[in-house]
Amino acid sequence: MSAQAVHRARTGAWAVACGWLMVVGAADANASARPAPQTTAVPASIAQFRRPPAPPRAPEAIYVRTCGYCHGAHVAPIIRGRGLPAEMVELYVRTGPRGMPAFRPTEISPAELKALAVWVSQSKADPNERAPLDPIPAATKERAQ
């Protein structure tokens, strides 16, 4: 789709969808029986439907997209540049002590977690990060959109 078409779709649709016309109709009162839904039988051999594992993400990418929303963002303690033991990082991620959520192997794979824990343990402090009780800066750091 061309950029122009995308632009047309955007400018045409937003006013309709956001405004007064966002009222929808009721179901057809004269509706009658419909055909049976599509069905799929359970296959005899399931192995063919296994998805190959996704390639592991880099530790920095996981940190920015998950950890960094709280740690260093006024919400949770700073964890970079502190030489925290990698084993402790792994434990925290999997168990979620106190106010921290736990992250499952389906969210951060064992291999990714191992690399992430080492990266956090060895990473340098980022001067732009803020601990929870740090003074609030004049302008809040804007996330790259």
Binding site: M1, A3, A5, V6, H7, A9, R10, T11, A13, W14, A15, A17, C18, G19, W20, V24, A27, D28, S32, A33, R34, P37, Q38, T40, V42, P43, I46, F49, R50, R51, R65, Y69, C70, A73, H74, V75, A76, P77, L84, M88, L91, Y92, T95, G96, P97, R98, G99, P101, F103, R104, P105, T106, E107, A131, P132, L133, D134, I136, A139, R143
Partner: protein
Amino acid sequence: MTGFSRRDVIRQSAVGAAVGAAAYAAQGVASPLDGPRMLPAHLSKSGFAAAVAELRAIVGAQWVFADAESTLPYAKSFTPDPRHEHVPAGAVAPSSVEEVQAILKVANKYKLPLWTVSTGKNMGYGCATPASSGQMILDMKRMNKIIAIDPELGTALVEPGVTYQDLHDYLTEHNLPFWLDIPTVGPIVSPVGNTLDRGVGYTPYGDHFFMQCGMEVVLADGTLVRTGMGSVKDSTTWQAFKWGYGPYLDGIFTQSNFGVVTKMGFWLMPKPPAFKPFMVRHNEMADVGKIVDAMRPFRMNNLIPNVVLMMGAAYQVAMFHRREELWDKPGSIPQDVVRDFAKRQGLGMWNTYFALYGTDEIIAAIEPIVRRAFEASGGEVLTEKEMGGNLWFNHHKNLMSGQMTLEEKGILRWRGGGMVCFAPVAPAKGEETAQQTALAQEILGKYNLDYHAAYAIGGRELHHLIFILYDKENPVEEKKADDCIREMITRFGQRGWASYRTGVSTMDLVARQYGDANRSLNARIKQALDPNHILSPGKSGIR
């Protein structure tokens, strides 16, 4: 104070690997396989082991979790569970629809209950934990494909494991001019999970189920159903038209356990040419009624199009501050202490965030109308000009423009990591919201808890979101929080106010308030669709 405090580290080392295993340890068992309470109610140890072996054959051994250690992340919850009634037996994580179908076949064979989660981050309502102990978590996170984005229609079709962050990255990478509508835990949760629990966000697309369009569902017997236009062969309108033909089915797969949703469509908001966020500051708790009455006409006529958040001071303060900074006594924090602290942050007792969207001309035309109305209610109407750089204003500006943030999770640190949300619905009438606020404060006060509240304002109602923040590491406090939410649900119910959504420990309690006829109808649908009761028994009080 910066970084890890010594207290954090010491506390962690003291409990070591047992942090998340408290529930197991409390019962003196090392593995779910050894503890009868962890097993499904009607399954022997050998039966469970046989079921696990079959599940491993389906998804691969590394995607079945059936020992105490590997189940730990699934047992994590912020909600009170003083009697250990929400401990999972294990988890299984499929990667495809076909694997889901095969898993359900095994579950039917062994009567193995499966508690379905998408990303398992239902933070105020139990995370991934089940309504009753011994259920196996059906973890859909590995099914994480963004199947289709239609840039002309502004629609998305995704699997349950896709997060708002994944979608955000996709839209950015492909330079697509749409805004997401995210809940306050956007980066780590999925549109599917949030929509199926009928969650909200804060742009004009904030009512997520309203913006949902088409589902694919695996029923308990393995049947694959597509709702709406998705049932039509070669349909090109699955994500364009919600209602399809005949009875509208999508609703019965939300807040329910009638099937496993494997795909869901929804609408994306075209990025508006202009956007202007506002905050209205009121300085008295008693102003709640005036704010609601001032807001109602604008939400009904859509001059203010987004889901508005009216944030109580104690909630806002808790995002970035801890209780001991304000108050060192066990009783509820007095309102004047909260007011004084909030004032120093540029906040009032109520801080109402809304935005105008459109073109500069449209915004310029609407702004004076809403400004007059809120000033007449006694509020100060503030914009980026006055509030730019304020942490809270920026946070809400981000929410109202669909940006990723987890800042509200800071409230978990208020009192030791415990949190549970009580979410009664209020009509958008000032008098009743004031009554709800008074009743909530009275009950919380009885338990020495603080009133951390936000009202999310829809068209004609408000979700009154009351977060009970407590110390989960203290069993006495955990029990108090549990008692408190039960009393709140019960006493609000006596006034005719019921929850729109609730946590795993109170699903029966809330279901009872919706009456026998409602429960019986749900039970009959359940019996027809899932006669072995394998899918999420107890969800919304439906077994």
